[in-house]
């Protein structure tokens, strides 16, 4: 049984094929990257796995269970968390609130317990708070001093960090990262690579969309290449670097000898 199996998923927008029969699988504990030129369908693939987009053909299986027809929040409960390419943070919520919201489905407080506040509610809130702070501590002093500020006051890189932190708060089994290092300088990118490896070491499978070659080559165990909605290659970083079709997709046909 594969951990995540994408089985010939086809997604069209009108007449345009965003994904054309894409199949691959990911096993537990891997770091897998997905690359491809702009418009190749990488984010669409994430949206299909995540349940935000519905697709007509194919199937996504997570731990042997088909995710077709599941709503995004149900998929999140199964243990798939994600970040977004264009950060989607809760602007007018504080960072700490965001972190507590990330644990939403692990917490039990409902309407009646919120109204009556039995003792376990405050215990639960305190625990959620501490867990949120512990995750924020992964980013050193970037986010911790700002926990009571609104998320929309953060800098671009910090917003990306908070998105990762929020995803981690839900204790996922599979983490989908959509360009986690966009807008970061080389030093910060380095830190994110370390972090991604740490996340994997703690038992979370990581699936990344990335443009930064340093991240892809440095962190990933396996790479999948998409072009025009089709999977054109799959393999280890070294295999991908030498793959004819990948070079063609990125550089064009005329220059494919340039790499040799």
């Amino acid at each position: 049984m594969e951990f995540l199996k994408v089985n010939s998923v086809t997604k069209t927008f009108g007449g345009l094929y965003a994904l054309k029969g894409v199949s691959f699988s990911i096993s537990e504990g891997e770091i897998v990257s997905i690359i491809g030129p702009n418009g190749a369908g990488k984010t669409t693939l994430f949206n299909c796995i995540n349940g935000i987009l519905l697709f007509l053909e194919g199937e996504v299986l997570f731990e042997g269970r088909s995710l077709n027809g599941f709503k995004p929040h149900e998929i999140a409960e199964l243990g798939i968390a994600r970040t977004f390419q264009v950060t989607r943070l809760f602007g007018k919520m504080t960072i700490l609130e965001t972190m507590i919201l990330g644990q939403h489905y692990h917490l039990r407080t409902g309407i009646w317990s919120a109204l009556l506040r039995p003792r376990w509610v405050s215990v639960e809130e305190k625990e959620a708070r501490e867990k949120g702070l512990n995750i924020l501590a992964l980013f050193g002093e970037r986010l911790l001093p700002r926990i009571n500020e609104f998320a929309d006051t953060l800098s671009y890189a910090n917003k990306r960090r908070l998105e990762i932190a929020r995803a981690l708060a839900s204790e996922p089994k599979l983490l989908l990262l959509d360009e986690p290092t966009a807008g970061m300088n080389p030093h910060e990118t380095e830190a994110i690579i370390t972090l991604i490896k740490k996340i994997r070491d703690s038992g979370i499978t990581v699936f990344i969309i990335e443009h930064d070659m340093k991240v892809i080559m440095g962190a990933s165990d396996r790479i999948i290449v998409l072009d025009h909605g089709e999977k054109i290659a799959e393999g280890t970083p070294v295999q991908i670097q030498n793959d004819e079709r990948v070079i063609q997709a990125y550089m064009g046909k005329r220059y494919h000898h340039a790499s040799t």
Partner: protein, 355 residues
């Protein structure tokens, strides 16, 4: 714990909540000093509108939806309370929550098909519902007596006490407002409220994190209509005459204007908005019909200079910190003791370990 620390803690609590206690005390004692029933009547109306504005705030301010037909639920509460007491002889104490429930049932029926969709469907549907509701009231004469309205609604009676004087009503609405504020406060400062805020801010991300957005939007809508029904029930028993005119679209607009002026997404704004929009027309009564021009001007000014309303999205706290109590800050211990090393990511996986 020794006696000294208990006393210190107690004094600290009183200082911290001093402003709340003061405000509560002033309003609790107001009828003893305000002998003119006209003023008390205005205060009672402010109370009714505070409940309505706070309930609408739950949908529009916290959940980020736009309901523009809230007066319909207010009307449902008023009519069901009137009919329950007049036709079926229910006591007030049962009719009050029952009319809230009936309004909530209608809220469920409106919300069920529209809240699954994003966008303006809820807005359109609530607008249409308000218009249809008023038309139904006017035309369903066997039940509602049409435009004649329902008169002679019995005085509210709780156990053996019958409400007759203005002060009695004042304390009833005072209690209802307290109940509304306290319960909405509890709801908002919890996992439930957190989920509502996340839907307002970024619905897609909220879903991806595991928030069942449809469920929460429904819950917020139903709870909100429940409060509107309660306010309607009180209104019916206070005025003792209700007609379709009181629940038209204009009423909904007044509620929206209260949120626009006071600000939404917090508890203070709607209360201030309700206060201003009820008190100002009374103060400027001498201007007669020009009042509406003033009303419009205020709205235009608000839109030009402070679009979020007087109070913005934020939690306003009147808490005062006594000198020996520190204001809550970022927990420095985490930064200093455990994690502040040269490598910010060194040995810090305990936060994400799967326990």
């Amino acid at each position: 714990m020794n006696l000294g620390s208990v006393i210190k803690k107690g004094i600290g609590w009183i200082i911290a909540h001093g402003l709340y206690i003061l405000i509560l005390g002033v309003f609790a004692l107001l009828p003893f000093f305000l002998k003119n029933p006209y003023y008390i009547r205005i205060l009672i109306f402010i109370g009714i509108y505070i409940i309505l504005a706070l309930s609408l705030n739950l949908i529009n301010g916290y959940t980020g939806l736009l309901s523009i037909g809230h007066a319909a639920f207010y009307g449902i509460g008023a009519y069901s309370s009137a009919l329950l007491t007049l036709r079926l002889g229910f006591p007030f104490l049962i009719a009050l929550p029952a009319s809230g429930m009936i309004a909530a049932i209608f809220g469920y029926l409106i919300g069920k098909p529209t809240l699954r969709l994003r966008g303006i469907f809820l807005t359109l549907c609530t607008l249409g519902f308000n218009i249809i509701f008023v038309l139904a009231l006017v035309n369903w004469e066997s039940l509602t007596r049409g435009p004649l309205g329902i008169a002679g609604i019995p005085l509210p009676k709780i156990f053996f006490h019958t409400f007759q004087r203005q002060e009695h009503y004042y304390y009833l609405i005072f209690f209802l407002v307290l109940f509304t504020v306290a319960s909405i406060y509890q709801l908002i400062h919890s996992r439930f409220g957190n989920a509502l805020l996340s839907i307002r801010e970024e619905e897609t991300a909220a879903e991806a994190v595991g928030v069942n957005t449809v469920h929460y939007k429904m819950a917020a809508f139903i709870i909100s209509t429940f409060y509107a029904g309660i306010a309607g029930s009180f209104f019916a028993h206070y005025i003792r005459f209700i007609s379709p005119d009181s629940f038209t679209f204009w009423e909904s607009f007044t509620l929206l204007a209260m949120l626009a002026i006071g600000g939404q997404g917090n508890l203070v704004g709607p209360m201030i908005g309700a206060f201003l929009l009820i008190a100002i027309p009374e103060i400027f009564r001498f201007l007669a019909d020009y009042r509406m021009i003033f009303y419009g001007l205020v709205l235009i000014f608000m839109m030009l200079f402070r679009r979020e309303g007087l109070f913005r999205h934020r939690i306003y706290s009147l808490r005062i910190y006594p000198p020996w109590e520190k204001k809550e800050e970022a927990p420095q211990y985490l930064v200093r003791d455990k994690f502040l090393t040269d490598d910010p990511f060194k040995e810090t996986t305990d936060g994400i370990s799967k326990s």
